[in-house]
Symmetry: C2
Subunit: 337 residues, 2 copies
């Protein structure tokens, strides 16, 4: 039942030559008679020979596989990044193994472990919302794996990173809201410890400061990117003696949820309260009114991350200082502001 796998030895036997010669013929080694090569190639085709990458990988100690660690492939942002990574590295014959952490640091850890055992040639990592302990990724670094960190980056390691235009995004968006005459601008932020949250909040605060608007801690709420967080934030803000006239969020999904909740409470967007997002997810163009948002191009982020990885693989052990790449964005103004 179990068919015998065709190997170079089969070809060698059929042709009455040694497997060394077959190997050379197949790998375009110049030290082989053109006629012999021709015969080998023909026989290989006839027997439908398929080289065994496992054996090759064992010798070369490489698999041409890259591990991609993301929280959730169902989020359009990550799906686009993954797509970009794949297309970028496919050119060089690399394939990607995608592992979802489901935002669980524990699963993330297991995934990294498993992919390490599978001997992937490198890792592209976007850690979970709750990852605070970077031991796993540090361990990879120490073991010498090529590493690229994207979106939610690990700042503690000198590795290539690709991030969104965090500071600028919220700076621009907040500025836009101020220009629209808003003064009580709330900020729906992310987990406190995330670098992206911090930078975006800094952008928000810089815009306020520049326009001489006092910062009000009551107007900032940190979320874990969950729907219930948004609901609670809104309740909090609307119960303030002086509720906000605009809500700025650091992620589109939160903005969309906020808009729908506001609508269900009978509040009009943007008349009663303006809403702005970050990312330009597909949803931003679908809701009514359209969501003003700072556009990011996750596909491009993926491509950049993939290129960094290819560089790292090429110069392996060459110690070139790693770059941090910022993917530029732009404000897309729609009806919500």
């Amino acid at each position: 039942m179990k068919k015998h796998q065709i190997t170079i030895i089969d070809i060698a036997k059929k042709l009455g030559i040694s497997k060394s010669t077959v190997s050379r013929a197949l790998t375009n080694n110049p030290n082989v008679n053109p006629e012999t090569r021709k015969a080998v190639l023909e026989m290989a085709k006839e027997l439908d020979y398929q080289p065994n990458m496992l054996a090759l990988g064992l010798i070369k100690n490489e698999t041409r596989m890259l591990g991609v660690i993301i929280p959730d492939i169902q989020k359009p942002f990550f799906a686009a990044i993954v797509s970009g990574i794949q297309h970028a590295v496919a050119r060089m014959g690399y394939r990607t193994i995608i592992a979802q952490s489901d935002e669980s640091p524990q699963i993330e850890k297991e995934n990294i472990q498993a992919l390490m055992l599978s001997r992937v040639d490198g890792f592209l990592i976007c850690h979970t919302r709750d990852t605070r302990n970077f031991d796993q990724i540090k361990m990879l670094y120490q073991k010498g794996f090529p590493l690229v960190s994207f979106a939610r980056i690990c700042q503690e390691l000198p590795i290539p990173k690709v991030v969104e235009d965090d500071f600028n995004g919220l700076y621009t968006t907040t500025q836009h809201l101020i220009e629209r005459g808003r003064r009580r601008i709330a900020l729906l932020s992310g987990p406190k410890h995330l670098q992206a949250s911090k930078l975006r909040q800094q952008g928000y605060m810089a815009a306020l400061r520049q326009r001489g608007i006092a910062f009000d801690g009551d107007l900032v709420v940190h979320t874990r990117f969950l729907a219930e967080n948004v609901s609670n934030a809104l309740d909090h803000w609307l119960s303030l003696p002086e509720p906000p006239d605009a809500i700025c969020t650091i992620y589109d999904a939160g903005a969309v949820q906020a808009m729908q909740l506001l609508k269900s409470k009978g509040l009009r967007v943007p008349d009663d309260i303006a809403v702005a997002g970050f990312g330009n997810d597909p949803a931003a163009g679908l809701v009514e009114p359209g969501l003003t948002t700072y556009e990011q191009q996750p596909y491009e982020i993926g491509v950049l991350a993939g290129k960094h990885m290819l560089d790292a693989l090429k110069r392996r052990f060459t110690d070139v200082p790693p770059e941090i790449t910022i993917s530029e964005g732009r404000l897309v103004v729609r009806g919500s502001t």
Copy 2:
């Protein structure tokens, strides 16, 4: 620079025993002294030994990797399926390598070829919109690869398949539109040769017939799931002497695009024309009015496909007749009808 990889031989040397014993200790082989095992395990931990899956795969002739071929990970439908597959097979220690065909049969072919060389243990395939030639997948079948076909299935092969509730979906949706008083119901279909297109159209026609509504060929347009197809279809329908009072689509994205085009033409949904979709993509709940659609659960489809694969891997070469699984759906009624 290139660090020496820790192998069982290193452990054996340190302990002054043979690599066979180390191997046995590590693989829970009973023929090894408990004390020896303990020593090996400790030494393995101390040296931070990582088994080499390539070597193991070479012996066992398996990689515990599955190839997943999909058109586009950025479509929410496929992202959810992929997620389901991953979670289903991860339990049994399998990992998935995802390859996007970008709806190109040529790239699909190359991907299958490449994954075959990578020696994946099986394939889960959703072929492209334009795949008419199943030679590649037949070749895999002949070579004895475990195969599962989902969503866009290959009917020519006796392999497990998981499909959406195609016939029922459009039967139910069309019936719903008729109950809402619509009589000129247009159908925005997919590529003619796709089984899913055919079955959905059959469901649509069955509902019409049952209610005694004559079928009008002018009201059916086949698309390639492209935005321009939708635009052309609308122009065609609206120029008819008796334009439709409802549009039924076999995919949500088309319905959403139709709604937006109708809106831009000044037509009201559902007052002037009702719209219904298929799938219940995230977008369906976001547009205004909400899109009535036949809900599918792509995540579940992925889980089912993954389970079929696990079965196939287990019973390899046992020749159990393959099943075709239909993932049930239900109509979600929103404002668009």
